[in-house]
Subunit: 340 residues, 2 copies
Amino acid sequence: MKLASLKGGRDGRLVVVSDDLHFCADATHIAPTLQAALDDWEHAEPELRNLATDLQHEVIPMLRFREHNAASPLPRAFQWADGSAYVNHVELVRRARGAELPESFWTDPLMYQGGSDGFLSPRDPIPLADEAWGCDMEGEVAVIVGDVPQGASRDEALAAIRLVCLVNDVSLRNLIPGELAKGFGFFQSKPASALSPVAVTPDALGEAWKDGKLHLPLLVSLNGADFGKADAGVDMTFDFGTLVAHAAKTRALSAGTIIGSGTVSNRDADGGPGKPVKDGGLGYSCIAEVRMIETIRDGQPSTPFMKGGDVVRIEMKDAHGHSIFGAIEQEVGSQEAGGA
Amino acid sequence: MKLASLKGGRDGRLVVVSDDLHFCADATHIAPTLQAALDDWEHAEPELRNLATDLQHEVIPMLRFREHNAASPLPRAFQWADGSAYVNHVELVRRARGAELPESFWTDPLMYQGGSDGFLSPRDPIPLADEAWGCDMEGEVAVIVGDVPQGASRDEALAAIRLVCLVNDVSLRNLIPGELAKGFGFFQSKPASALSPVAVTPDALGEAWKDGKLHLPLLVSLNGADFGKADAGVDMTFDFGTLVAHAAKTRALSAGTIIGSGTVSNRDADGGPGKPVKDGGLGYSCIAEVRMIETIRDGQPSTPFMKGGDVVRIEMKDAHGHSIFGAIEQEVGSQEAGGA
């Protein structure tokens, strides 16, 4: 089953979307918003599934689904926490600044608490007020969970996963060193992010959803050129069950909590850092990663961060080449406030 | 005007509370929840104020207001971000571990992104699963804002403050060093917090609300003994306008965002660290602070963190000795999951 929130009000209007993303059906008689459906999933889910079946059989009024009309599935959420499951990526960050990766990073997930009060719509511009902040995309996979009790096991956490989607975790790279030096984690360096137009139940992902990971390439392009196609199921040290259980260790998570994978990143076939797509590699899901590789190789980075007018696109396709979640496609805007 | 959320459903049921906290009136015909009122404040506020006037005049059906029946005013919120405005406190933390306070800490606010998906009710136990985590209270003041545009000035931020309340920012001290060493800030070390039973509009605070600060002592007791009575208006390096503007520098804040002051902390009259209440000082709003002073003085701390059965109470009284926000009073429980 695929769900989306059409733009409208602070929380959007819930629709069920056809598997091919061509059509949708109003679902607000079941639950006005996706958050409301997640709050009462036990009752809402079977009704939404019936509606999805009717839509697939074309026996109910259908609307053309246009990704441009979609808000993020949760236009605002009660929690967004982002892991760094691709430890390969974290190791590169460290190596670029000459620091060792602590051994514990391979066994204890790194996770930060993100701002969840406003997700940009998937085709909305990124409202960047100052290019000097170093705007970067981070292509990620995320899960949206139901209620998770404090101390949940990995298996309980896996069972609580309701939906899967993609994320562009917008990052302001040049603000990060100063913030991390203060010791309290990210804040101003992590402005509003965007989710994919559509969120999908794990069962609808078929074979690609296995062991708490999504085994498909994450397609990232920058200004129309392929930038990355790393497989989200490869080099993911911590699966989503482990990430959700980590988040729930000392407190319950309430329904609608979004847990991210961190930037998807694959090693090269030779075990070293990934190569650019144009050189036959799998490329990168964020600009920072290629800049780190450039720094390690050349002593300094050469790929610039995003400027006004740059366009990032993040998408994932099934074995038949069909978009699963729709595309996040964002132009870097300027001076516009946004995110709420 | 004073507002509260009676327990019921995920978001509580909105009531207007009398100034003396004795009575309340159902407000769900105006807005079902406090979040709904904040989402549409322009329309909801005048109607809620009329209801509050009617309640004060006892011309409408009144209910006895019982703090035990109150949820946190926002039982779940879209954002909770906590500053460290009492730099005196931050300086002590650093000094206890032999580190210098960077000069920039006096001009650039420290703030972390907290979890907002579940606030404990003000009289609910703290669901501590392991005493070894080092459970501590943090007595704080917080503001709840309306929509704040990206890049808002301090004055714009001050004008966006809708409500003021108290917070017990529960902290797991023994998990903090490990988490901060990982570099991404707090996560497991900051479980669900609790807000005061009542949230109050700034105008209802009268003279005590001035220059974006609340000029009254924050009364903290532990197991019935006075623990702290530091003045929240003293030694607050960053007022709430500055804190909210800091949070909004790179992204808009959506209505219902809660911004905390950090642990309230006053220097002693001689300029040194605060003395215990029993020694004639103003005491402390968290256990960590007295432990830091003990560490500086004796080489090691002697006051233990909270154990099962310990009770913390946090309250603020007006010039006539009347409770303004009602009391947060929480017993440390055990093994119970909670927060959602």
